[in-house]
């Protein structure tokens, strides 16, 4: 009896101490209600005074970081000095004049954003929720708990969030402005039911890149852009033969993951195929898709064994950076990166199939959206508006890593002359561009079935059409 009492007492003390620590006075330390305004002060959700002090009379929005422009986590204004010191210590010039090259792109991006928002009494607190699968899991939990930042960012998951009604549609006037002045690649994949739900300030689409040195070693003209699938087949074969196991023709990454789908999705689109129909049901086994998989199979023969379908994306691009593959279909960042790696780069639109038309899939597009549970929606939309402002878009143009999305800058003569390669990319962004579809049900399982079927088609001698038919049947069962 005594033992029981003691055990119960110990348990009760533990529970009470745990609970009391969180309640009452504890809550003051834990944080103010999300977005609750007190005397003109707005606290971001979950922020304690010790983490990110906010300014009275100013609306504070919480924004998830996009890796390419991230400078740290916390109140934006507090991060500038640290980042400037880091650049200065590394001997990087902090100067930036619009229209000239920029060495400190993320810093300048955030400074412009901060200035533009400050003028509207808005300040930004950034958070880092990672990228890829961890980000999706955390966002899903955040939606369920209604604990979600004012601006969320993501890639392939974002259209799905929009379809599920988790995102706020852009105000009509803003949507009209975007349709008129912004390149479709920046918003078209986030258009659901005639409404726009997200915008990427610097999306990418894929182009064909080639390592001129390797192409030349194969006896091919390194300055001649190839335009057809057959030429691509021939050239990768020629380079592979010339490489004698030291380097290969390459082509495109085709692993069963989004990194693969985003890249060879452009080939699918060019050939008139698709992953899903307009209702989100699988459309795996079209003859166009089978033709594309047949091309992938041929390209696979021009890669080191297993590399093309290696689930680790890094290994594939490592081979490109190290001059082991000659051709690559990838996003625009290759232009700037080749300057670091010293690769003499050729760039052209993706070659077309015999009956194909130019088309593309957005890649590396960090779509920014406002969740329906955001606490500061108006300020959040002001943030998105700043993303396609002239100042930000001029900076994107000057970075030479991506193309601007603002037509006024992308289509200017100055841009075409200063950035001829990236102008090619801008043109590709302005054509028939889509995002990856979200399947009606069990999205990840349907993608898995597609990915596995493609790998089977590439790696085995099985009949490609038969493999896709089988995947179609199985995917129909999970998506209907």
């Amino acid at each position: 009896m005594k033992n029981r009492k003691i055990t119960a007492l110990v348990g009760t003390v533990m529970l009470v101490s745990a609970l009391s620590a969180c309640g009452g006075g504890g809550s003051a330390k834990v944080g103010a209600p999300p977005g609750a305004a007190t005397g003109g002060e707005t606290k971001p959700a979950g922020e304690t005074g010790s983490k990110a002090e906010t300014t009275p009379g100013v609306t504070t929005i919480k924004v998830l970081n996009e890796g390419a422009v991230a400078i740290g986590v916390g109140k934006l204004d507090d991060l500038f000095a640290v980042k400037e010191k880091e650049y200065a210590d590394a001997g990087v010039s902090l100067d930036y004049t619009p229209g000239s090259p920029v060495e400190t792109f993320p810093l300048q991006y955030q400074k412009i954003m901060s200035e533009k928002l400050k003028a509207q009494n808005i300040e930004v607190v950034t958070e880092d929720w990672g990228w890829g699968e961890p980000l999706i899991q955390k966002q899903t939990a955040g939606f369920l708990a209604k604990n979600i930042p004012d601006i969320i960012v993501g890639e392939t998951q974002m259209p799905g969030f929009a379809q599920q009604g988790l995102l706020e549609p852009f105000p009509d006037d803003m949507a009209a402005d975007i349709r008129e002045n912004v390149s479709p690649a920046a918003w078209k994949p986030m258009e659901v039911g005639g409404k726009i739900y997200g915008l990427a300030a610097q999306p990418g689409v894929s182009n064909l890149f080639w390592n001129k040195k390797l192409v030349k070693q194969a006896g091919l003209d390194p300055d001649k852009a190839i335009t057809t699938w057959q030429e691509l087949r021939d050239n990768v074969k020629a380079v592979t033969e010339a490489g004698k196991g030291k380097f290969y023709g390459g082509g495109v990454y085709a692993a069963p993951n989004f990194g693969g789908y985003l890249r060879y999705g452009a080939l699918i689109a060019i050939n008139g195929g698709s992953f899903a129909d307009e209702n989100g049901l699988p459309a795996f086994n079209s003859p166009q898709n089978a033709e594309t998989v047949a091309l992938l199979k041929d390209l696979n023969a021009a890669h080191p064994p297993g590399l093309m379908v290696n689930n680790n994306e890094g290994s594939y691009f490592d081979a490109w950076n190290k001059g082991q593959i000659a051709y690559l279909i990838d996003g625009p960042w290759r232009v700037q990166e080749s300057k670091t790696t010293g690769i003499d780069l050729g760039m052209a639109p993706i070659p077309l199939s015999p009956s194909g038309k130019p088309a593309n899939v957005t890649i590396g597009a960090a779509f920014h959206s406002v969740p329906v549970d955001a606490k500061q929606k108006e300020a959040a939309f002001a943030y998105i508006k700043a993303m396609y402002s002239e100042e930000i878009q001029q900076l994107v143009a000057d970075s030479n890593t991506r193309s601007p999305i603002l037509k006024k800058i992308g289509e200017s003569k100055e841009y075409q002359e200063k950035h001829p390669e990236m102008y090619l990319h801008y043109q590709a962004m302005s054509g028939d561009v889509t995002g990856l579809p979200t399947f009606a049900k069990d999205n990840s399982k349907a993608w898995q079935m597609w990915g596995e079927a493609v790998v089977k088609g590439i790696m085995t001698d099985g009949d490609i059409q038969g493999i896709l038919d089988d995947a179609q049947k199985r995917a129909e069962l999970v998506t209907r």
Binding site: I6, G46, A68, V73, D128, G130, A141, W333, T341, T401
Partner: protein, 311 residues
């Protein structure tokens, strides 16, 4: 005497060089090298610059042409992007706290299930053990909701309206270390092997339950306690899910979570990964755990042997 010892030692050494042992040793050496290779690779990769690592076709042993200390300096001094000391301190505090809590709960719960008699004891114990069968990933979202709905915390009006204990130290203090079920199981097994007369003798001398637990039984559980400490400390030190998923502020990050952030930021569009730095930071996370394991591994075997689990 010393002559005899020396001669025994020489004999043993000579024995090891006999063909039948030599082959075994060579195989073991080979396996050892294979197991050690990732660590060697990590140490060497830390001397690369980002560009050289990205553009060089690495040999079996990656030797940089232009070695740099920058990555190791960042590991020890931190940088603007990675406040390593802060993360290290958070990792240490979290590990110490979780280990202490695991020991306490394992001992108390182990005692309760080994010595006390109450209705439904076996069912309750089986239910507790059953929770160990649930994969941790399934519990992620429910746990997130539990933290977000924590009563009266983070602006919550009873259960809703705020952020609960998310993104606060309470995630680590309350959420991280729950009752250490596996530890409780081991302690239960071990205590059950001890004669009940020990407890009775202590009672006759006037000892209460807590005195029996902490003064009589605990000293006999030291190998188990060491085992629980090591396994809990290693698991907590390496855990990146809890800080990554339930906290967002930089001030709450631990080393593995910070490294995950750096890696995932590198995977986001357009960001060029600094793999040598990421590898060096990973090495920094791994080393304390490795050292802990290296010096205390014998307790793991000893601890398991005491529970009667080891054959």
């Amino acid at each position: 005497m010393s002559q005899t010892i020396k001669s025994d030692f020489s004999k043993r050494i000579a024995e090891q060089f006999k063909p039948k042992y030599l082959l075994a040793h060579l195989v073991l050496l080979g396996v050892g090298l294979v197991l050690l290779y990732p660590l060697i690779f990590m140490v060497l990769a830390g001397f690369f610059t980002k560009t050289e690592f990205m553009t060089t076709v690495l040999g079996l042993l990656p030797i940089p042409k232009a070695p740099t200390w920058d990555n190791y300096l960042t590991l020890f001094n931190g940088s603007a992007d990675a406040a390593i000391r802060k993360y290290f301190l958070n990792s240490t505090l979290r590990t110490v706290y979780a280990t202490f809590w695991a020991l306490l709960t394992a001992l108390l719960a182990g005692y309760v299930f080994a010595r006390l008699q109450f209705r439904g004891k076996n069912t309750l114990f089986l239910a507790l053990l059953g929770t160990q069968m649930i994969p941790a990933t399934i519990a992620l979202i429910p746990t997130y909701l539990q933290f977000a709905r924590w009563p009266f915390a983070g602006g919550n009006d009873i259960f809703t309206g705020g952020t609960g204990i998310l993104d606060t130290w309470w995630v680590y203090l309350i959420g991280g270390p729950s009752i250490n079920i596996m530890g409780a199981f081991l302690v239960k097994q071990s205590i059950e092997k001890l004669p009940y007369e020990l407890d009775e003798a202590a009672k006759m001398d006037g000892a209460g339950t807590l005195r029996i637990i902490f003064r009589i039984l605990l000293p006999l559980q030291m190998p188990i306690m060491a085992f629980i400490s090591i396994t809990t400390a290693l698991a907590t030190w390496n855990d990146f899910i809890t800080p990554f998923f339930y906290t967002s502020s930089d001030s709450l990050q631990t080393l593995p979570a910070a490294i995950t952030r750096l890696s995932s930021a590198a995977a986001s569009p357009g960001a060029v990964p600094n793999w040598p730095l990421i590898i060096t930071l990973s090495l920094g996370t791994t080393l304390p755990a490795l050292l802990l394991f290296f010096f205390f591994q014998k307790y793991i075997v000893q601890g398991l042997a005491n529970t009667g689990i080891k054959g």
